[in-house]
């Protein structure tokens, strides 16, 4: 009698466990879209940053070139009309801020003071070469850039309807783009945590 009373309960328990074990929790993460967004956004930031670093163009010299040369060799600024996977006013503003600050950070990247982390953020690697006042200024700048990057990843998550607890994954996808577009000689962090010169 005792066994007969317990058997249904055990069966129900086993059935429940079996059902639970079959449940697959799908966390929505549109990897391809995030990768495309990272490629577009980081590409544009790095391009704008390089444009800001360049000395102002000399129109007299350029206009003296034959028009066919200008047509073939000149790079046109067509990014304003490009369609990116994700964009909005906040992302545009963050891109503009990040481009401006990226050009300020690039000399420090070049000197090995900064590195592109594997987590999508800028890391201060060796501030010892700087004056103590420069260190404080750089720290403030890096804090702000990383805060802007964090805000950018959150905006991308919102735009793609990705849960905000997935921002870390988005940051890692962006990290690959930050590192891919990093210039020769910049330090980048490998996924195992080590640093190497690009």
């Amino acid at each position: 009698m005792k066994d007969a009373r317990w058997t249904p309960r055990v069966l129900v328990l086993l059935l429940t466990m079996g059902l639970l074990s079959c449940v697959t929790i799908n966390i929505y993460f549109p990897a391809e879209q995030v990768e495309k967004a990272a490629e577009d956004i980081v590409g544009e930031i790095r391009k704008q940053s390089q444009d800001q670093e360049k000395p102002p163009a000399k129109p007299d010299k350029e206009s003296s070139l034959p028009w066919i040369h200008r047509w073939i060799f000149s790079v046109r600024s067509a990014y304003a009309a490009q369609e990116t996977v994700v964009s909005n006013a906040a992302i545009r503003q963050l891109k503009s801020r990040l481009a401006r600050h990226d050009s300020q950070l690039s000399p420090y990247f070049q000197r090995g003071v900064l590195g592109e982390g594997a987590d999508g953020y800028v890391v201060i690697l060796n501030a010892g070469a700087l004056s103590i006042k420069e260190r404080a200024a750089l720290r403030r700048l890096v804090n702000m850039v990383n805060a802007d990057r964090r805000a950018l990843y959150e905006e991308v998550a919102r735009a793609l309807n990705v849960n905000l607890n997935q921002v870390g994954r988005i940051a890692q996808v962006f990290a690959k783009e930050w590192q891919r577009t990093a210039r020769q000689g910049w330090f980048i962090q490998t996924p195992d945590g080590n640093w190497r010169k690009k």
Partner: protein, 722 residues
């Protein structure tokens, strides 16, 4: 990267204090250590043979792996040879040419030195029993060479310990936060000490350091070229308490960076004085500061009015005071310079006035508390480019912070609350406050500090451009943590919002909002209006739901809202916006409107003409032209709108229905009137009129394109979009 949160900073501050106390122990005990060791050497020496006519005979005393444990220090692994000889009938010399100590430690300080070597001669007067040394050398690896000259009598001691080129780095390392590592502290040291026959002793320690430096692995917490002096005067009775100590410090050169904060000691030389005493009941050492002060010249002056400690140096309480001093240098260094990168407008900020504070600070493993008041007096503040100015700001800010509030003792919290209402009151007031076009008349807002929070007990009248707004009561909780929350009541009758609009729009639109009894709720970084707001504008009403401001402590706060409207007079609306005349009534809604960095990020907008309108429904050619250009980028009149206007002024319409969404930087515009497979933005009247048909319902307009279209409309010189 190093992340330093408030908890870490508190820990660091406490650690610095802990170590400062230990440093004093170290200095005093080091003197005792040396004298004690000399006594030890003498005690272990065997009596030398008598001097014969040929002169003194030397004996050698071999010591192998001996140890000596004193209450204050331990010497282990003592090995070497001590030569024992007589120079005359009453003097015995103990000479060491390399007595080695494997380990010399001061357990109470955490200091440990390995492989210490001692060289020199100690003379014993066999009649008086005095030990005398002139040049006992102590070679301490990583620290340097110390020279001892001392006389140790049976009942009295006096001597000098000195070192010219030492590096105190290793000795100081245990006293600094772990992340700092080993600093470099080149220094000269002088210690003079003496103990009389009555047991009274005194010591004077003088340390001169030059070009000292420290840094963490990332160089973000660092000091360089630090040059200054430390002087300690101590006195007491041997083996007894209390011990009186005074500590004077000066740093006249060098610079320091602590995360985002930078300070130059050449610009702001640092001086400090501290007088305190140590007491014990035999088990626990207690310390108390009688008085102290710290000053950064032309920047900051802090006084320590007193302290008490349960166990020294843990669980101490300090009474700090900022004497009345100018506020501008403090805000320049610790606010403008430190946060100017994040908030660029700070670089334009100008301020003057006075600051004063009294605070009780409790440190310890069980309790961290700050209670007191901060006063800003006669402060003027201006940020010209942002048109922000405050005159005669007087702010008494009460503070009651506790890191770990008691959660299991409701009665305790209640009694503290009562205490707060009596003694922790404050007041915020100004004579004149202008923020862009808003003018706030003089204010006096009483507030009370509660445990980790604030309370506004009563309603306070706030006049904004002459209009009355009632603020309060309200409360704020967990104000010092990221989980801060609170509510405040706000009330206003027919508040004219034109002052809140851009100047050009405010002249032609006078929206009025009635706030019968609104409650603003703060939740972490979000402020939410808990009830809908009703605004009267253009003869109709706009009801704003879910109005919230997000990221309020960031440089770019965001606005979120939903809204519905009805009975809006289209004629007045289109006249104000100069879009082109339309008559009728407008209803509609906007959902999920989000504004960031001053621009819309997303919305879902519905604009519909009201069927039951008490006025004729007409639309002008210019309005049709503009509507078409915004929606489809093509005018139905192909540039002939000006000519047609001569013959036709307005067309009757049956219905206007537009849905406009913004997402991912793309607009979509859809007509809400659908007939015979066509989608109309504007449907003509029954007899005549003009239809505006959405030719491409799937049309998506890029942000940049939309801006170009709006600019084109503005450039046409006719209508102007604002």
């Amino acid at each position: 990267m190093i992340h330093s949160g408030g908890h870490d900073r508190l820990k660091s501050r406490r650690a610095v204090f802990l170590h400062a106390g230990r440093l004093l122990w170290c200095i005093l005990f080091f003197s005792w250590l040396v004298t004690g060791f000399v006594l030890f050497s003498a005690a272990h020496a065997q009596p030398p043979p008598a001097t014969d006519a040929n002169g003194p005979h030397a004996a050698k005393l071999h010591i192998d792996d001996a140890e000596y444990v004193h209450p204050f220090f331990e010497a282990r692994g003592i090995s070497g040879t001590v030569s024992v000889s007589r120079t005359d009938s009453r003097t015995i010399n103990l000479q060491s040419r390399g007595l080695r100590l494997r380990l010399l430690s001061l357990p109470q300080t955490g200091l440990r030195f390995e492989n210490v070597e001692i060289q020199g001669t100690v003379a014993l007067d066999t009649i008086t029993g005095d030990f005398t040394t002139e040049d006992l050398l102590l070679e301490v690896p990583d620290l340097g060479t110390l020279t001892l000259a001392a006389t140790l009598g049976r009942e009295s001691i006096h001597g000098d310990l000195r070192a010219e080129e030492m590096d105190f780095g290793k000795a100081l390392a245990p006293f600094l936060p772990h992340k700092i590592g080993t600093p470099r502290v080149p220094a000269g040291l002088r210690i003079h000490f003496q103990k009389g026959s009555d047991g009274a002793w005194q010591a004077r320690v003088n340390i001169r350091f030059a070009k000292a430096s420290f840094h963490d692995p990332d160089y973000l917490y660092a000091g360089e070229n630090l040059t200054g002096t430390v002087t300690v005067n101590a006195s007491g009775k041997a083996g007894r308490f209390p011990v009186q100590l005074s500590l004077t410090t000066g740093i006249g050169d060098g610079e320091i960076v602590w995360n985002r904060f930078y300070l130059s000691f050449a610009t702001h030389p640092f001086t400090s004085e501290l007088n305190f005493r140590l007491e014990t009941d035999g088990k626990i050492v207690r310390g108390s500061v009688n008085r102290g002060s710290a000053r950064l010249k032309n920047l900051l002056h802090v006084r320590l009015d007193g302290s008490s400690c349960e166990t020294f140096p843990d669980e101490c309480e300090f009474r700090l005071r900022l004497p009345k001093q100018p506020v501008a240098p403090i805000l320049d260094v610790f606010l403008k310079e430190a946060y100017g990168t994040m908030f660029p407008w700070l670089s334009e900020a100008r301020w003057k006035g006075w600051i004063e504070a009294r605070m009780r600070l409790a440190f310890g493993s069980k309790l961290n508390e700050a209670v007191g008041r901060l006063h800003l007096e006669d402060v003027d503040f201006e940020v010209q480019p942002r048109k922000i100015s405050i005159h005669d700001l007087n702010f008494t800010l009460p503070v009651w912070y506790r890191r770990k509030p008691k959660t299991d003792a409701g009665t305790d919290a209640g009694s503290e609350s009562a205490h707060a209402s009596e003694s922790l009151s404050g007041v915020l007031g100004w004579k004149d406050f202008r923020f862009s076009s808003l003018g706030f008349a003089s204010l006096r807002l009483p507030l009370t500090a509660q445990l980790n929070g604030y309370r506004i007990a009563q309603k306070v009248l706030l006049r904004i451009n002459g209009q009355r707004v009632l603020l309060g009561p309200g409360r704020l909780e967990n104000v010092w943590s990221p989980d801060r929350s609170g509510t405040v009541e706000i009330q206003a009758e027919d508040l004219d919002l034109s002052n809140f609009l851009p100047e050009s729009l405010g002249k032609i639109v006078r929206p009025k909002v009635r706030i019968p009894k609104q409650s603003l709720r703060l939740d972490r970084r979000r402020i939410l209006f808990q009830k809908p707001l009703t605004i009267r504008i253009f003869g109709g009403t706009v009801t704003v739901h879910r109005l919230a401001v997000e990221k309020i402590f960031s440089p770019a706060p965001e606005i979120l809202l939903d809204a519905t409207w009805k009975d809006i007079d289209l004629e007045r609306l289109t006249e104000a916006t100069q879009f082109g005349r339309i008559t009728g009534r407008l209803t509609g809604s906007v959902k999920n409107l989000r504004i960031a960095y001053g621009a819309p990020v997303s919305f879902d907008l519905v604009l519909k003409s009201q069927d039951q309108a008490p006025v004729q429904k007409k639309i002008s050619i210019i309005a049709i032209d503009n509507l078409s250009q915004v929606g489809t980028s093509q005018s139905p009149f192909m540039g002939a709108a000006g000519l047609l206007k001569v013959f036709f002024k307005d067309f009757p319409y049956k219905k206007i229905g537009i849905r406009c969404t913004l997402e991912n930087d793309y607009f979509t515009i859809r007509g809400l009137v659908r007939e015979q497979g066509k989608e109309y933005l504007v449907k003509r009247g029954a007899l005549h009129g003009v239809d505006v048909i959405n030719q491409n319902p799937r049309n998506r307009i890029a942000w940049n394109d939309m801006i170009r279209r709006l600019k084109r409309i503005r450039k046409s010189g006719r209508p102007e979009m604002r």
